[in-house]
Amino acid sequence: MNTTESLITIAGLAAITIVTRSFFLLSGRELVLPDWVKRGLRFAPLAALAAVVAPEILMTHGQLIATWKDARIYAALAASAWFFWRRGILGTILSGMAVLLALKFGLGW
């Protein structure tokens, strides 16, 4: 991409950030959502996060991993275990990264 194209692309991406994050804030009028939509929305944030996270842990180059020797699996398990034990985000990140780096550099996974 040349500079002009890149500038246009980046400007569009910034606009997409604003429009998606402000989507239901754009209109100031009263917004009445049907009851089932409200109940359904309860699941959407968690679903979106799971949809972003799961491929990052279990896929490589667009394929489901076919080996148990992947440091990310154990890092995610350790991080989850920490979370359920202590409920802190910092400890979740640190415990997961400790396992990831130990397996990467210790066992070469």
Binding site: M1, T3, S6, L7, T9, I10, G12, L13, A14, I16, T17, I18, T20, R21, S22, F23, F24, L25, L26, G28, L33, W36, R39, G40, L41, R42, F43, A44, P45, L46, A47, A48, L49, A50, A51, V52, V53, A54, P55, E56, I57, G62, L64, R72, A75, A76, A79, S80, F83, R87, I89, L90, T92, I93, L94, G96, M97, L100, L101, K104
Partner: protein, 261 residues
């Protein structure tokens, strides 16, 4: 100026700062990796700085970069970023009751600065809109730390691209931060099932263009969630039919689930 000072000294501002600081390590590692990726992907340093400061959406930037490098048409890059950002559309529906009383320019600013972590932490601390309970101050505190711990490492990554070891897997810290957030949203069996379905659907539909797998995953999870939760007439009918079928076969799950409902 006095208003700014009052905001900075507000206990809810400090609370927002300390809540977000707990996750700042993950945000920072992810920002650093994204900064490096932008320059390695072929953007010049000024363009990379502009992208970081203007777009301010890590997952969308990382999804857009390989497409920009591969000279994909601009609309493909935008469509992909839109799908990756679609979760924010859902989040904005839940921000609405908190922010409708502000003028449009301010609402746009609130939206622009509200990332994943801001959303989850804010909603955990403030469940109902209550003017005067420091919600704006909490948002400001959490947002300030979120912005700083993303932008400073991102700029550092852009400027120091060659001296940062990306093969360590530092970017995984950001994934772990999102994993922690996802786990904090698990509240009952319905949400756990919805999350599992979403993760499986996102992997199964990964080959779809424009990161539509995320859209498929959200749709599947909402449907399953509504069915299990007994939401919606169609969902209730389906669930009742399923339970009746299970009971006819003498399946124990039919009985216990029926009693719970």
């Amino acid at each position: 100026m006095p208003r700014l000072l009052a905001t900075l000294q507000h206990p809810e501002f400090r609370r927002g700062v300390s809540d977000m600081s707990a996750a700042s390590l993950g945000i920072a590692a992810w920002g650093l990796v994204t900064g490096v990726a932008m320059v390695k992907g072929g953007l010049s340093v000024p363009l990379a700085l502009l992208m970081s400061l203007a777009v301010f959406a890590g997952s969308a930037q990382l999804a857009a970069l390989p497409l920009m490098t591969a000279h994909a048409p601009v609309w493909v890059v935008w469509a992909t970023a839109f799908c990756v950002n679609l979760r924010f559309v859902v989040f904005s529906a839940q921000w609405r009751p908190f922010f409708t009383r502000y003028p449009l320019a301010q609402r746009l600013a609130f939206g622009y600065f509200s990332g994943d972590l801001t959303y989850v932490m804010f909603m955990r601390r403030h469940r109902e809109p209550q003017p005067g309970s420091g919600q704006l101050q909490y948002f400001a505190g959490a947002t300030a730390i979120n912005w700083l711990s993303w932008q400073l490492p991102s700029v550092a990554g852009i400027l120091l691209v060659d001296s940062i070891p990306t093969h360590w897997g530092l970017g995984f810290a950001g994934v772990l931060a999102l994993l922690g957030l996802a786990l904090s949203l698990l509240s009952d069996r319905a949400t756990a099932l919805a999350a599992t379905v979403a993760g499986a659907a996102a992997i199964a539909a990964f080959a779809l263009p424009f990161r539509l797998n995320i859209v498929v995953a959200i749709a599947a999870a909402v449907c399953i969630g509504l069915m299990v939760d007994g939401g919606g007439d169609a969902g209730r009918r389906d669930r009742d039919a399923l339970l009746r079928a299970l009971q006819r076969r003498g399946h124990p799950a039919g009985g216990s689930a029926g009693e719970r409902a």
